[in-house]
Assembly symmetry: C2
Homo-oligomer: 387 residues x 2
């Protein structure tokens, strides 16, 4: 059975003075307001909400609590957690429910507040998103995990810090055009290269920020889509895969097998090739992560992500595929559990021609790529304007 996205909305990503309930309600209101022919919260039959930290570990029953404050009283809701891929998996589970025929109208969302964590807790919440037994408790930070991948990528493929920085420059340029982005500021290559080192070889501009944010997406049974809008966005593929968690158990530090597997499944399901994708929101928690993503999804050959990106191939207006038109995790921000749903929000705008100054002209097929941990899990969705 087909599933379609008929509404999507999010808070501004960044530092929010508001609590979780107010943030989630704002994202939900934005999603309902985006439904062209209108939808009421009580029309939603079931909800899947991604979050890692459930309010700094203080708000149990998070999914129900969020739904309660978004007008979804009585609507079955659960929290979906898969590290930083929580939002992508929440979206997948909502799609599966709609495809089952049991649920006509589903809400997939995500929420995280990170800026009110004490500094030690920030290391903790990011640390538990990687491996605990062999990495976190051995002192490896989450930036350090990706730094290991970057260093190995440099050694094996000749990737340079300029290659990495070209991701930041592109994504900041896109983010500067996104009023919902955390960092709406372009950055020059030389400034990115001069920034303080975080975890060698990753500097400040190689790392995403610490972000508060919420996002909601409304998924309906295909047959109902035109009751809500004349321009639904169709779910052409929903796929997911896992890999082992600890880096040392993987055969390679420069491939995310979960991305490769989920990507292959998604392309097969959608009946498209990487070359058919117009816009892609990929999981660039670090610049190296975007290079791995464009390689592992097949936009370019393994090892060529650096030159590919530096050549402008993923640039918004003229690249063969516009990668992270929203600014990506790097500039739009990365509120962990909300990121996956936020990616779908961007595709919803792009595929309906509503992305304003950052619109990729004529975008018809989009891809969302959401990674959990250092590649332990991945969800890939292909969306399109044709049914």
């Amino acid at each position: 059975m087909q599933a379609a996205v008929v509404g999507a909305g999010q808070t501004a990503f960044g530092t929010s003075p508001r609590g979780l309930k107010a943030m989630f309600a704002e994202a939900a209101r934005a999603a309902f307001a985006s439904v062209d022919k209108g939808m009421q919260p009580q029309q939603v039959q079931e909800a899947w909400i991604g979050s890692i930290s459930f309010g700094g570990a203080q708000l149990g029953n998070l999914a129900g609590l969020m739904g309660e404050h978004a007008g979804l009283q009585g609507v079955a809701a659960r929290r979906v957690e898969n590290a930083c891929a929580s939002g992508g998996y929440a979206f997948r589970d909502a799609v599966l429910a709609v495809q089952s025929g049991q649920v006509d109208i589903a809400l997939a969302g995500g929420i995280e507040r990170m800026n009110d964590w004490p500094e030690e807790r920030q290391r903790y919440w990011l640390g538990v998103s990687g491996d605990t037994e062999w990495e976190r408790t051995a002192g490896l930070t989450f930036s350090g995990v990706y730094a290991l991948m970057a260093a190995r990528h440099m050694r094996d493929f000749g990737t340079t810090r300029e290659h990495l920085a070209s991701v930041a420059v592109k994504n900041h340029a896109n983010g500067a055009l996104n009023p919902k982005a955390q960092f709406q500021k372009a950055v020059r290559l030389e400034d990115a290269l001069k920034a303080p080192m975080v975890a060698d070889p990753l500097g400040l501009y190689d790392c995403c920020g610490t972000t508060d944010g919420a996002a909601c997406v409304l998924v309906v049974r295909g047959g109902l889509a035109r009751q809500f809008t004349d321009t639904p966005v169709w779910v052409k593929a929903s796929a997911a895969a896992n890999d082992v968690l600890a880096l040392h158990d993987r055969p390679s530090l420069t491939e995310l097998r979960a991305t490769q597997l989920a990507g292959k499944r998604a392309f097969a399901q959608a009946g498209v090739q990487p070359g058919d994708i117009d816009v892609a929101e990929v999981h660039d928690c670090f610049t190296i992560a975007e290079l791995l993503a464009v390689e592992d999804l097949g936009f370019c050959a393994k090892g060529q992500g650096g030159p590919f990106t530096a050549s402008g191939a993923t640039q918004r207006t003229s690249g063969q595929v516009a990668v992270n038109t929203s600014g990506g995790l790097k500039a739009k921000g990365h509120p962990l559990g909300a990121t996956g749903a936020g990616q779908v929000c961007e595709l919803f705008l792009q595929l309906r021609g509503q992305a304003g100054p950052r619109q990729r002209t004529g975008a018809e097929v989009g891809l969302a790529h959401n990674v959990g941990g250092s590649g332990a899990s991945c969800a890939v969705h292909v969306l399109g304007v044709g049914a």
Copy 2:
């Protein structure tokens, strides 16, 4: 599309010396071993795993990590959290995925270790399963939440402590016949009444224990079921509902609207009445919770749960419906996120006539009822031996 359970297994519930990975692998192995015609872990396509505390908040990426150690490398897995209903929602999401046609073979499981939490953390993890803002941080314990409901039930309906204790006596008698139960010991009514008070009017025998445990269930597309067994257990209904979280926002302290709504949906979907249910595993985290459950599910009238239970109507051998043949949360144990999957394990045995000395003769239709928090969420499943 139909879904069927072809395998189910669990660890013994109680105090385990083993870590999460070993416990989960044991439950998964038991589930695979229960598949009559065999199934290999790598045949599983996707997994949903319920857990609240993810290893005392120390093991991120829990779902993937559990899968990794149960032979499911590469299999997409996510954690489902809905307080104490996490396992029931994990099972529901696995069923929806199978019904979607995207997933042929799914694993639904759950795991919790509670006995290695420091005492303060025990109050915390149970506390966040209720409301935080108006209950936990005001000093109300989770036992206190249910004590308020019990006190009101006594006032409004004349329910007595003997009525409450009759739940404990019945469930301990059943647990005494279950080699997987935490408390395999019968208790006499007079001893239950003499036990120390925990939260007036709830004494020690009105409260479930602190339990380590894991459980796994294998759900397949109906058309595949007979490849795995000649006696599959069919999912006749999967339903869920939510209610507001804080007690003070509900119109009544003696009704769980989430149970009522999920129950109605489940009975309608299955095309059965409460009187058609032979065996029911209901969420008796406290004795009062079982009285509410039998009322809200429609096994008896509102307010009559006490006399109904004391009369033997829910007794294993001769009751109109055998409630908690496993011993229930009360005697079998309540490892939070594993409980919902554990309930399905019991129904799998009962409906296939494999429950040994605690078998309900001729059981053909079973119901599993899993509650999150103090009734904020509820999942109800109806299973049966006829397709």
